[in-house]
């Protein structure tokens, strides 16, 4: 069994991270009735003997004493992290896992990456090493951050670089929240594009998320509940947006519902690595199967179902509906439509009481309406995990390597160019030590190259399928 370490950077990263830890505890509490510290728990939590204080030794077996998250919380402002430490999750984090400062990064990637990066490099490396030492077999780092600001974007990608240097064998999965068009941070295009270059070069897999999509999902759920259309009541804790049953019971903050969706994404992604099933799908398999070329590692994700009704009996019709939903526009976590673009690869991670025949039936049913690249017509990676998420009898996470990410990147490039042509706000960046004009030109060039790679794949899409001729054997 392997362990993963979560590195949450910046305001967004920490708020999402907080929801993740909360829901992770809830999930394990639901499965682990006896309070024994088992392998599944150990993938994200340490079990520490705190009877003699916080510095107690790790306990590897037996009853749970005190669970500590395998996490690093980094923020250049204190507000968010302080709130976490005063909230109900305070015992899950150890003061030695935090790195904070006071003044923030001013929504400036360069401040986050160059100034704070340099300043805190040693501290970060030391804390990462410590976290790694507590792991028997560290498999993956999860970075959670946003792209549009200064800390998450700049310092977050600096940490990404560090991870590659210090732990080259460990996978780096990055959950990045991309800014929307009406983002109130004017310089978010600069920050995002500068961060993209780092993601292109140093991440193994990136799961892009857009706030607009999360917002739409939240709205959709509210509408369904309030419209009274649902025959019976919805199970509160099954809502993909809900914190019900978790430690945090006080009033929900505005972004909590949206952040819960991302938290659920991470839980589902790692479920097969933590729990048993008839066809396991580990994190290294996700990277292996979904990344055909090193730079094309952006995966569009979708989660279904968004809620479960209280009546438990689920006919297979509803099961099939779950699969159909996973491919619909409304369930994607970015503003993209994979159905009408080209699939390079697709992974389906099913949880709960679903068998291989259900999986096959739905793949056969949905295949004809999806376009797969010519050299990967059967590009499906599947996993079956027996343990469903809290409140559900089954769920599905779909990860697609699909050219539908292209419009998101093109838009980002356009917004960047709008500012860059006028050199708007550029001086805020260039005055930072280590920043030069070339940083910008290299970053936009990296993004353009990426878009071009997707373009080439799309161009071949409609054309006639000519299979390369096979090797001939002399008879």
């Amino acid at each position: 069994m392997t362990q993963s370490v979560v590195v949450q950077v910046g305001q967004c990263g920490n708020q999402v991270g907080c929801r993740f830890w909360d829901l992770a505890l809830r999930e394990h509490a639901a499965v682990n009735k006896k309070g024994i510290y088992d392998e599944a728990l150990s993938s994200f939590f340490r079990n520490v003997d705190t009877r003699s204080g916080d510095n107690g030794p790790d306990i590897y077996k037996g009853k749970i004493c005190s669970l500590k998250a395998r996490a690093l919380l980094i923020d250049m402002e204190e507000g968010v992290v302080n709130e976490i430490l005063q909230g109900p999750l305070r015992d899950v984090f150890d003061s030695k896992q935090l790195i904070t400062d006071v003044s923030g990064s001013g929504n400036n990637w360069a401040v986050g990456h160059k100034i704070y990066g340099c300043q805190y490099q040693e501290n970060i490396v030391e804390k990462l090493r410590k976290a790694a030492e507590h792991c028997d077999c560290l498999q993956c780092f999860f970075i959670i951050h946003s792209m549009g600001g200064g800390t998450g974007s700049g310092l977050g990608t600096f940490v990404l670089n560090l991870l590659e240097e210090e732990f080259p064998e460990v996978y780096r999965f990055v959950t990045s929240v991309y800014p929307s068009g009406e983002d109130d941070v004017i310089t978010s295009p600069y920050n995002s594009v500068l961060a993209m270059k780092e993601l292109n070069e140093h991440a193994d897999c990136v799961l892009p998320i857009e706030n607009e999509s999360l917002f739409e999902i939240v709205n959709k759920i509210h509408q369904m509940i309030n419209s009274g259309k649902l025959g019976s009541t919805v199970k509160q804790n099954s809502l993909v947006t809900s914190s019900a049953g978790s430690v945090k019971t006080l009033q929900e903050k505005p972004f909590d519902a949206m952040n819960n969706i991302v938290a659920n994404l991470l839980l589902n992604l790692t479920s097969s690595a933590r729990f048993e099933g008839s066809l396991n799908m580990d994190l290294n398999e996700i990277s292996m199967n979904l990344v055909p070329f090193p730079r094309l590692h952006y995966l569009v994700s979708s989660l279904t179902p968004l809620y479960t009704l209280a009546d438990v009996n689920v006919p297979s019709r509803r099961l099939d509906q779950m699969f159909s939903d996973a491919f619909s526009r409304d369930h994607q976590l970015i503003q993209a439509d994979p159905k009408h673009s080209l699939y390079l690869a697709c992974a389906l991670l099913v949880r709960g009481n679903v068998q291989v025949s259900d999986l096959r039936r739905n793949i056969e049913r949905l295949k004809p309406s999806l376009h797969f690249v010519s050299w990967n017509q059967e590009g499906w990676k599947t996993g079956l995990c027996s343990v469903p998420p809290v409140g559900h009898s089954h769920s599905l996470l779909a990860l697609a390597n699909n050219t539908c990410v292209k419009p998101t990147f093109i838009e980002l490039k356009d917004r960047f160019m709008k500012l860059y042509k006028k050199k708007a706000h550029l001086h805020h960046y260039l005055q930072i030590d280590g920043m030069e004009q070339s940083c910008f030109s290299e970053a936009i060039s990296s993004l353009s190259d990426l878009i071009e790679e997707y373009n080439e794949l799309d161009a071949a899409k409609g054309g006639p399928r000519i299979d390369p001729s096979r090797l001939k054997i002399a008879v």
Partner: protein, 450 residues
């Protein structure tokens, strides 16, 4: 003689468990339809072959469990132990933490060499427990990373360490529409490597077994466990004790040798397919009865028409006219030419069965005498509650189309260079791929020109 089983990866371990379960439940039953003495002899033979007596009294399977991550092995061990009737030896397993990530190169070039000593030590221990070692049986899938990559490496090690022992690989071919995206690469790499070290590859295809579950077993929501149980039944029908032709009154003392020697007369032709008839849900067994002529007629047509089960057989397919020398390219389409066949009959009135229809020379290639190309084993002791059952192990063109399909898809992907960086990272280069493609194109060509 005893057989040591090596279960590799998730698939290998899940199937292995079902196989030992099926063997054990078969010998414990009193439905053998034969004399008590015969039944006891059968039980003794099976136990000697597959299980080892331990002090606790619960027989321990002669098996080594290998996986690169712990969840499946721990599940397998506990499921066996909870049956109360058999178990695995508590030390005969090896696992790691990280898995192979569906990466053949990782399994073959990294895990293989790193863990060779530990794994081979376990195999050696199991081999030493056998009074007489009859050979090795490995179970693996070829789609993933451990069963396929590490499995290929371990097979080579077995060949090197036991050069004179029989070595049979049971290989699971994945669903055509994908369980793993790089499954075709992993399959090509596995098959070509196994071809060089193994004696024969006994193949089961997930698509085929799935159909059997759906159409014959009437299972609505088919799980991998259901698939594995059908596979276990088919394997059991081959590996349970048999009287071989002219073997006197006792059960065969050399199960793997008796199987492999007639079926694999030429090193270029190592692919064996397996068919079993009848197959039905246990609940229907009491209400069904079959005649041997009926069963054999269906089995023969399954062979000729390359059918997968007793439903949906194409009865139009006929063997070519005898006497005329027909160049292989003109042979009737869809006709499945055989090199060698083995029919294993178990149950009531088995000695009265006429298997002459399988000796028809037109079923076979011209370069073997039909008397040598066909063998039949008849055993009166019934298997797994089936009053009569017949299994066919065939070295024929059964697997030609599926093999060609896998190689074609892999080649298509290879031409675009997709995913290659994942393999080169662990030391498998493009040239290695090309060698493997060449080996398999040669195999395809050989089987095509039968």
């Amino acid at each position: 003689m005893s057989i040591v089983t090596v279960q590799l990866g998730q698939c290998g371990n899940q199937i292995g468990h079902e196989v030992f379960s099926a063997l054990c439940s078969d010998i414990r039953g009193t439905h053998g339809l034969c004399s008590k003495k015969e039944n006891e002899s059968y039980q003794e033979s099976c136990k000697e072959r597959f299980f080892c007596e331990e002090e606790s009294g619960v027989p321990a399977a002669r098996a080594v469990l290998v996986d690169m991550e712990p969840k499946v092995i721990s599940q397998t061990l506990s499921m066996a132990a909870s049956s109360g009737h058999w178990k695995y030896n508590s030390h005969s397993h090896f696992c790691q933490k990280q898995g192979s990530g569906n990466n053949w190169a990782n399994g073959y070039r990294v895990h293989g060499p790193r863990h060779k000593e530990a794994i081979m030590e376990l195999v050696q221990k199991e081999a030493e427990k056998c009074d007489r070692l009859g050979g090795f049986f490995t179970i693996m899938s070829m789609a993933g990373g451990t069963g396929s990559g590490l499995g290929a490496f371990v097979t080579q090690c077995l060949r090197d360490a036991f050069p004179t022992s029989f070595l049979l690989n049971h290989v699971i071919w994945p669903y055509g529409t994908g369980e793993v995206i790089v499954q075709n690469y992993n399959s090509v790499l596995t098959l070509s490597h196994l071809y060089h070290s193994s004696d024969a590859l006994l193949v089961h295809e997930n698509d085929v077994i799935h159909k059997i579950c759906a159409q014959l077993m009437n299972i609505k929501q088919i799980s991998f466990r259901d698939v594995n149980q059908v596979i276990a039944h088919q394997l059991g029908s081959v590996f349970q004790p048999t009287h071989t032709a002219g073997g006197g009154s006792g059960y065969s003392r050399n199960p793997l040798g008796d199987l492999l020697e007639p079926l694999v007369p030429h090193p270029e032709f190592r692919l064996l397919g397996l068919r079993n008839i009848p197959q039905m849900p246990q609940s229907s067994l009491a209400f069904s009865s079959f005649s041997w002529p009926g069963l054999l007629k269906h089995l023969r047509q399954i062979l000729i028409a390359n059918a997968h089960m007793e439903e949906g057989i194409d009865w139009q397919v006929r063997p070519p006219q005898p006497g005329s020398s027909i160049p292989s390219t003109n042979k009737p389409l869809h006709f499945n030419t055989s090199i060698a066949n083995l029919v294993i009959l178990r149950g009531k009135d088995v000695h009265s069965v006429d298997v002459g229809s399988f000796q028809d020379p037109s079923l076979y290639t011209s370069w073997l005498n039909p008397q040598d190309a066909f063998n039949a084993w008849k055993t009166p002791r019934a298997f797994n509650k089936y009053e009569k059952s017949a299994a066919l192990v065939s070295n024929s063109q059964f697997l030609l189309k599926p093999l060609d399909s896998i190689v074609g898809k892999a080649w298509n992907m290879f031409a675009s260079k997709a995913y290659l960086h994942q393999y080169t990272k662990f030391g498998i280069q493009e040239e290695d791929f090309l060698d493997c493609f060449t080996t398999l194109e040669q195999v395809i060509s050989s089987y095509t020109n039968l």
